[in-house]
């Protein structure tokens, strides 16, 4: 099936996707185009890799430093097989002096003309009667470039600005849109504290007042949503009143290596006639829940 999107529009959307400011409807169109065309899928895959790197606050900052460098410095080479090897050879320098002069002949002529104009202006200025130097300097001041000086925070991106990790938005928008408040029918404790290394299991103790199904969902620092209890391949079970413990990995491979704050929400579905796992929106909007946060340091 041929995609109705033309190449220039695809390029425009891909550019927005790379830098994380694509609108949700445009992202839908972009991904549809990717599914329809192998060439576009290849371009998308590259853009996606770059976007994932830019989404990481630390690398983003480093990229900004590189971009601020005035000169091109390529001291590390890269092979297609992924091995970092010896420094790149310096660029070949043309030894043909005449060709180099020829290449810059027009620049030289322009510079000479500009110099002549400046000298003429200087002489004319000297011959004219004295003027108010301060006012003439003010008038001659170059126009300021309208760059907004404010720099947005680099790591506090909205979930929609993050790369593939926005994948959890379908559930995340609803699961985390209600403000957290103290739930009475479900108590939540993290016996291991509030900070975990990325490779450590978070143990959760849930205490229920009545028999209910329980669903635990974690939102990572970049907005990625994952269900941590029950494991999606398991049948949800009705838990009896009282304490119950489960554990899950503090972070997943798709969470950023820079760590951050994770939010855990445990929903209690006491209405056992509800199949919450097929009706997330109902559960997220209606079920009682308790919330805890924990942090993961950089890997």
């Amino acid at each position: 099936m041929k995609s109705p999107m033309d190449d220039s529009e695809f390029a425009e959307l891909l550019e927005s996707y790379t830098f994380g400011d694509i609108a949700p409807t445009d992202q839908q169109r972009l991904t549809r185009a990717v599914l329809d065309s192998p060439e576009r899928a290849g371009d998308f895959a590259k853009a996606h890799e770059i976007r994932e790197q830019f989404a990481d606050g630390r690398f983003r900052r480093e990229a900004l430093d590189i971009l601020e460098e005035g000169t091109v410095v390529s001291d590390i080479g890269y092979s297609a097989r992924g091995i970092i090897y010896a420094p790149m050879p310096p660029k070949a320098v043309s030894l043909d002096r005449r060709s180099r002069i020829g290449r810059y002949r027009w620049y030289a002529a322009g510079a000479a003309a500009a110099a002549a104009v400046l000298i003429a202006a200087y002489v004319a200025f000297r011959l004219d009667p004295p003027v108010d130097v301060a006012s003439s300097q003010t008038a001659a001041a170059p126009p300021t470039v309208a760059v907004t000086p404010t720099v947005p925070p680099l790591v506090s991106m909205s979930p929609a600005d993050t790369p593939a990790l926005a994948a959890g938005l379908a559930l995340g928008f609803v699961a985390f849109e209600r403000p957290a408040r103290e739930a009475h029918g479900v108590r939540l404790d993290l016996p291991g504290g509030r900070s975990y290394a990325s490779n450590v299991q978070v143990t959760v103790r849930v205490t229920l007042d009545v028999a209910a199904r329980v669903y635990a969902i974690v939102r990572g620092p970049t907005g990625l949503i994952r269900q941590v209890y029950p494991v999606p391949t398991e049948e949800p079970r009705v838990l009896e009143p009282g304490p119950r413990t489960f554990a899950f990995a503090a972070s997943e491979p798709f969470d950023p290596p820079s760590g951050g704050t994770f939010i855990l929400r445990v929903f209690k579905v006491a209405d056992l006639s509800r199949a919450a796992e097929t009706d997330w929106r109902w559960m997220a909007g209606n079920a009682e829940f308790a919330e805890r946060t924990y942090t993961v340091p950089p890997r």
């Binding site: 390029a11 590259k46 690398f59 990229a63 590390i76 297609a80 959890g168 450590v200 999606p232 391949t233």
Partner: protein, 158 residues
């Protein structure tokens, strides 16, 4: 679109992607494993806009796993041992470093105008603001954006 229909469409793209990343022999398996992860862990996602990027992320991880498998001489690592050992994976760290080094290299190779454009994009400025900062017309700005993205992709791919 059902998940089955989506899986069939994305599978073809993932096979191409894995093949283009030097894993042609196992591209079919990698694509299947990727879809299995989508099915088991992300079944709650419905929109292509969410599933497609996630598919490529998972597929990239699977490609690296396949390379590691080859590097081990074909020795299969039992699943349960991998699950227990969740320390930061040195191989994965190396892969991440490699990707970043490619991107650093690509950024350094850009023209000063493209550098400034991308810098302002990363800082969250709009196209209008960037056009003003670079003192260029909006129409020319779109051409410049396109060229810079192409250049970045080219340098990143080399």
């Amino acid at each position: 679109m059902s998940f089955e229909e989506f899986a069939e469409q994305i599978r073809v793209r993932l096979v191409d992607y894995a093949s283009s990343r030097g894993a042609a022999e196992r591209a079919g398996d990698i694509a299947q494993e990727t879809i299995l992860v989508l099915w088991t862990k992300y079944a709650h996602l419905e929109r292509e806009a969410d599933l497609v990027p996630l598919s490529f992320s998972i597929c990239a991880k699977k490609i690296h796993e396949a390379r590691r498998f080859v590097a081990r001489g074909g020795e299969e690592m039992p699943e349960h041992l991998e699950a227990l050992d969740q320390r930061p994976d040195p191989y994965q760290a190396l892969v991440d470093d490699e990707v970043r080094e490619r991107l650093r290299h690509a950024l350094r190779r850009l023209s000063s105008r493209c550098k400034e454009l991308i810098r302002l994009r990363l800082l969250g400025h709009t196209t209008d603001e960037i056009a003003a900062a670079l003192q260029t017309r909006l129409g020319a700005m779109y051409v410049l954006k396109h060229r810079c993205r192409e250049r970045l992709m080219k340098e990143y791919s080399e």
